[in-house]
Symmetry: D2
Subunit: 474 residues, 4 copies
Amino acid sequence: MKEECAVFGIFGSKEAAQMTYLGLYSLQHRGQESSGIISYDGKKMYEHKAMGLVSKVYSDDILKELEGHVAIGHNRYSTTGISHVVNTQPFLVDCRFGKIAVAHNGNLVNAVELRTRMEDDGSIFRSTMDSEVLLHLIARSREDSIEKMVIDALGQVKGAYSLLFLTQGKIIAARDPNGFRPLCLGKLGNTHIIASESCAFDIIGAAYLREVEPGEMIVLSEDGIKSIKFAASAERLSKCIFEFIYFSRPDSKVFGENVDKVRRKLGRKLAEEHPADADIVISVPDSSNTIALGFAEASGLPFELGLIRNHYVGRTFIQPKQRERDWDVRIKFNPVKGVLRGKRIVVIDDSIVRGSTMRKLVTLIREAGAAEVHLRIGSPPITHSCYYGIDTPTRSELIASKKSVREIEKYLGVESLHYLSVKGLLECVDDPDNYCITCFNGVYPIQRDGDYSKDVFDQDIKDKSGRRAERNSA
Amino acid sequence: MKEECAVFGIFGSKEAAQMTYLGLYSLQHRGQESSGIISYDGKKMYEHKAMGLVSKVYSDDILKELEGHVAIGHNRYSTTGISHVVNTQPFLVDCRFGKIAVAHNGNLVNAVELRTRMEDDGSIFRSTMDSEVLLHLIARSREDSIEKMVIDALGQVKGAYSLLFLTQGKIIAARDPNGFRPLCLGKLGNTHIIASESCAFDIIGAAYLREVEPGEMIVLSEDGIKSIKFAASAERLSKCIFEFIYFSRPDSKVFGENVDKVRRKLGRKLAEEHPADADIVISVPDSSNTIALGFAEASGLPFELGLIRNHYVGRTFIQPKQRERDWDVRIKFNPVKGVLRGKRIVVIDDSIVRGSTMRKLVTLIREAGAAEVHLRIGSPPITHSCYYGIDTPTRSELIASKKSVREIEKYLGVESLHYLSVKGLLECVDDPDNYCITCFNGVYPIQRDGDYSKDVFDQDIKDKSGRRAERNSA
Amino acid sequence: MKEECAVFGIFGSKEAAQMTYLGLYSLQHRGQESSGIISYDGKKMYEHKAMGLVSKVYSDDILKELEGHVAIGHNRYSTTGISHVVNTQPFLVDCRFGKIAVAHNGNLVNAVELRTRMEDDGSIFRSTMDSEVLLHLIARSREDSIEKMVIDALGQVKGAYSLLFLTQGKIIAARDPNGFRPLCLGKLGNTHIIASESCAFDIIGAAYLREVEPGEMIVLSEDGIKSIKFAASAERLSKCIFEFIYFSRPDSKVFGENVDKVRRKLGRKLAEEHPADADIVISVPDSSNTIALGFAEASGLPFELGLIRNHYVGRTFIQPKQRERDWDVRIKFNPVKGVLRGKRIVVIDDSIVRGSTMRKLVTLIREAGAAEVHLRIGSPPITHSCYYGIDTPTRSELIASKKSVREIEKYLGVESLHYLSVKGLLECVDDPDNYCITCFNGVYPIQRDGDYSKDVFDQDIKDKSGRRAERNSA
Amino acid sequence: MKEECAVFGIFGSKEAAQMTYLGLYSLQHRGQESSGIISYDGKKMYEHKAMGLVSKVYSDDILKELEGHVAIGHNRYSTTGISHVVNTQPFLVDCRFGKIAVAHNGNLVNAVELRTRMEDDGSIFRSTMDSEVLLHLIARSREDSIEKMVIDALGQVKGAYSLLFLTQGKIIAARDPNGFRPLCLGKLGNTHIIASESCAFDIIGAAYLREVEPGEMIVLSEDGIKSIKFAASAERLSKCIFEFIYFSRPDSKVFGENVDKVRRKLGRKLAEEHPADADIVISVPDSSNTIALGFAEASGLPFELGLIRNHYVGRTFIQPKQRERDWDVRIKFNPVKGVLRGKRIVVIDDSIVRGSTMRKLVTLIREAGAAEVHLRIGSPPITHSCYYGIDTPTRSELIASKKSVREIEKYLGVESLHYLSVKGLLECVDDPDNYCITCFNGVYPIQRDGDYSKDVFDQDIKDKSGRRAERNSA
């Protein structure tokens, strides 16, 4: 499971691009495939986007060329393929009122329908991103102010979106009425910043003010900050609970709560629900560390560093020809024999997606001499795909959609396997009724308009009605 | 003066992308800033575009990923700037009938008007290329076949275009009714090829069949080749005479004539009009070599290699701090003292644009010991900018728009300077009435809809009416 | 403080270069500036070396070109400068008996003397590495076997060395009689491996056999493995205790002990010696994690994740112009406010070198709301530079050589600061008398032949006697 | 046939590295595989070397780091292979009197013997270049001044060398007593320059003074310029006549003669010896242009541009899978049909080595419609390999060593083939007795000490006597 994006925007800084660079650096965990910044100096927009990590994408010269006091930025985990460059963000286009750029975190569930309708109406699309759909809707709006045009467009889309627009000398931020993805507001002197997580404020020394509310639009301009309620919040919000389980950085505040605190509770709750008769607790680093600490605390078992993560692992790893060993897992995780040998071990992970990596990891831990392996997962079994901005495998690839917990336990080869219950999970957050738990229970808060595959727009073939012929069987 | 583009398309080859690569290699002189290929395998399109020369843009792996039996390609001389990547071609988009890609050589004179109208109507533009305008027009057409849609679109545009579209499993080629830019048809077995110049056929061993006629559309598909006359040819064509003077490769056939033959005639005619009392004839290599040979032949003076061009010169050249010397010209041209010393020299160049390089060159030739320098130019004085696909400086930068021939002679510091006359120029081609000589006489065959600067679409500011505020003073 | 090298050698593997690549991957922490592999196929040697991380230096194609069943490899932390490429290892030369390559971890203290003597005798040096001195000594030896020649050479050098030679179809490993740096022997089927740390065996599935003994030479060849005692072990060994404090990977076995176990003891001992009246224990990740766990265990205080390390930080970081904030530390460490706020915190670090980073870190922790900061260091104050293979700053840059503990406490701005005592440190290892603790007590087990600066060989100037004029004042 | 090197040195320029860069740029034709500059600022030497063309190897930042008022540079055509980087020049080492760097054009014929002897004596070699042998000899010399040490070393080597040393604050240039390779002296104000060809003076505006004489050493230092006759010139010199035929730039003066003038004579002489009953004369561009002009002049036949060279051809060219066509030649040369069709053509080339490229070219010319092809070669048949600094194929690959002229004529498929006679060739230069014509007559002015193959030092195997076992059969 991979988060698909991070957004960052800043209005009124002498070093807007530089600050955006720092913010994107701190939000790197939300997207590592590409990064981009668009800045504005009152006259012109400046654009730089490229594939790769923030530390590679930008140089001193490039930041200097991104002039101006306003900037928005984006990190992306994009789909692979030969045409990926066109899918980097922020996405900048020209329309009747001038230039407009968008940075998007989330996923629209009616993008195919809207796009097909606009294509039928004569529009052309350059990318396969639903952010482009948004720009079309705005450009087509007949409203007389940019704020109204954006509201007009947002009124037509369904799904998850935490958005930043840069246009008309303004940054316009908006969050969907369900509040799927986080978006928060910060301040540094007179400068306002909007970012996916509060850790982006910390790096530049800005203070966290509050969340952008579901259904709220915030406009940053020379006139200061303005808040517009463009839609009523959903009766029950759909905040992504996975932000606490895995995605967000532990030092961030998202949805108004400290990630670290919630993650700690997950571990404690897990220990309460599923204690283990074991000697030590270890985590699958780094994401599960806090959950493991919580488990150790509640269970009274000692927390140990039984797996060390190799942080020098690059993008490419050259596999030996003899493929029988699990090189990819071995290069990434180093089991500490001195810690593991002869011990009954509780292994804590945040979640299990396909199960294949965990299976290899269990083998490694056993080879290092573990007497027993008791696996405890800090979230319930993932049985359904996400349509709201997370890159989940198709349902058939999710191990928990095909196997029972006992079958998974057997497949992984562990002495015991237990997941945190949905009930337990929700008890760890302040307002349990306002979270999306679709991936655990299959209840989708907003329906999609058809079961399209991820690469629907990469196909060239359409049927007679102009609709794309490629469609997954329901 | 720089040609802005080369196009190449091939239908029905086992190695379509590879053949396109070879074709683009041979058309490198028409555009060196970026190159791109889009291929089609009956199901999907594959895209690769990048900044740089053909020899750098493609690799064996990249060509292998460009699968299929159909491909179009493009070389571009693009404008500089931070956003240049979006302006590479072929330009591929998605619209109501699926994917469509375009490769364009030429320039539309009503692109701003069309674009503004479509923007007003809600369209968004990603690039600043007028090729994108064409795709919008096609996507908006209500016609029921792709051929009719393209014709519908072409009916709305004015200007110069030699176009290749790849869509619906077809390559559609079209040339404007004035025939500004060349486009020709070739054949290799059952495979048809369309390219800017015939040299692209030679490299892959294909035979030259004929020009694509002004106002003609050619459709290549599984059904073979089909010709459609989508518009009447202009009464008087506007074929670009500069293709013979400078742009095209001497081994090419363009507009049905051998470039080399015409270029030779230019030299002979120049000698007839403006003989020189001199010892030897030298050319500014390589483009003026053939003209110089013609001059030498007609004048009876010996042709010598007085300037050697350094072909190892790369894109970047590190200037010494002491800037008084003309390093850029010196690194590029090596005067052969043994040839030049003590001689009265006729120097042949194809044209003079700003005059600054020629001035430095004359200094070099004098330093090498030339007794006299008689400059003869194989074309008339360039006094007007081109709007039909050539990157000309603005009028005020053209030396001949500001100075008389005698003033230029003095500025360059030569004993004598003579240009070929317009009359003489036209006598060198078969159908003199059908050529565009705008750059020499200022008579524009098709008017532009406003005097927009080159970077009109890079500006962010529009006036209240939604029109771009930036406009050059007429 | 930076370790200067890692070595890896394998004899008799079908994929010798590939295995070496994996070994070097796992030893990346010992040197990140350059990496190299030299392989041998029974006829020829193949070489690849480059600046950068293992994940960047090698590609699939490069590994394929490194043919053969024998290979040695090296990671290096090299000095900077324009000529650094010549200082990559393994270093391969040609001499009277053919080709010989060396990979070296350590530092010779009489290299300048030996080199000067050989230069006087007519030798030339290409690099500034003392490994080159070794090769000269071997090439000059009049012995009649390669083993004896190496022994002859080793008899002349003083200092720290864990060496691998590849020559004459053999790998020859040797460790100095003091045993400064680790070197161990592993086995995978019939294949022997020698590496700096045992973690390199784990990654390829090899078993740890034993340490290469101080004064021992091991020869790997087609005839199997042979051990030669080339020198008596020192009466008291000088094993580098910093391998346990910081350098080695926690999952490695070095000097026959599990790094993790010793590191844990450091933490417990530190808690015994210097308990703190505090609420929580945090570590400066990742190197101090195990020490912190030990401290937490012994003190009964909870271990918390109060600082998160950003593992996406690249080599280059673009500093904002407003330099007042400690950007470099902020981009690397994220304090978790939820954990730190209002707490009295024990911060555990392995050591303090200059103190400047720790000072910034304390500021960060305070800004995050810490009520009190009690700093506990898992080793004694570093007061002296290392000459045995560790890149230490000059003495004057070591904060503990200039300031008392109380002064450092004040400089860092912490409520309390305590270091582990030398006595306590030595109680954590099995054979305390056999460790080098020079950096803590200034007692050098082997004297240097002059106080040369690090870049002594980069200077061009020599005095009349042929000796280099540049010499640090004692 | 490829020249192996260019050298350039400058003493006393504010921008020494920059001037060297310009000089190397103009000498690029003598070596395109790697380039390097070493500069000196009175205290330190600075080094930069890399594989690739001058335009790629250097950047503005790199030139800035090459500080100082003294610099030497080198372009190299090196042998291929994985270890090529060690063979770049200038080669910089450290020895008893400090640092010394060498740049070498030529080839020593007793390098193997000298190297073997020194290896036996305990020396080690890092590269496979015979320049390294020279540095060893200098470092071993017991003389008391650097000049004498260099003379001592030169006294021991045999073969071709035009050398530049940078050491002891001096540039020392030397040319072998036979004068195989060119080396000349120039001046710009008070600054002296030494370079392989005079074209390197022209680019920086320096004046050509004279040749460095065979057996002469020139020393440039703060004391000015000093000439030392270190050896008597050979009774008959062995100046490489191929410098006139092919290697040197036409605008250069080498061996005191204008290259262009000699090359012109070759063409005239060729026409006298072997006239052709034909319509036009064309050259294989660019190297044969001047010869062709000479032929045209003397024969009265018109010179035409029948082949256009594609100067955009990069290092790598992706071959189509259908290999039946001669893609490599086709991408490089464009036959101009308009010129060639129906004509009886004299094709002029400077020389024939293997004959394979010429054979493909003849096919191309015929396909373009040539009625007859009469091939005239501006030099005699090459029957022997060069040991004096030119990369010639082994004798068995030279077509003229295996086939008679009539057989070659048949193999190439031309109506007639004639070579310039040795006698005719020598009549084109001023002092015909002082040229090396070994490649045409097999008389070697200096014998080699054994028939070693080019990659003798790449082999790992030596026989018992310490001599390399690999030796070509005589």
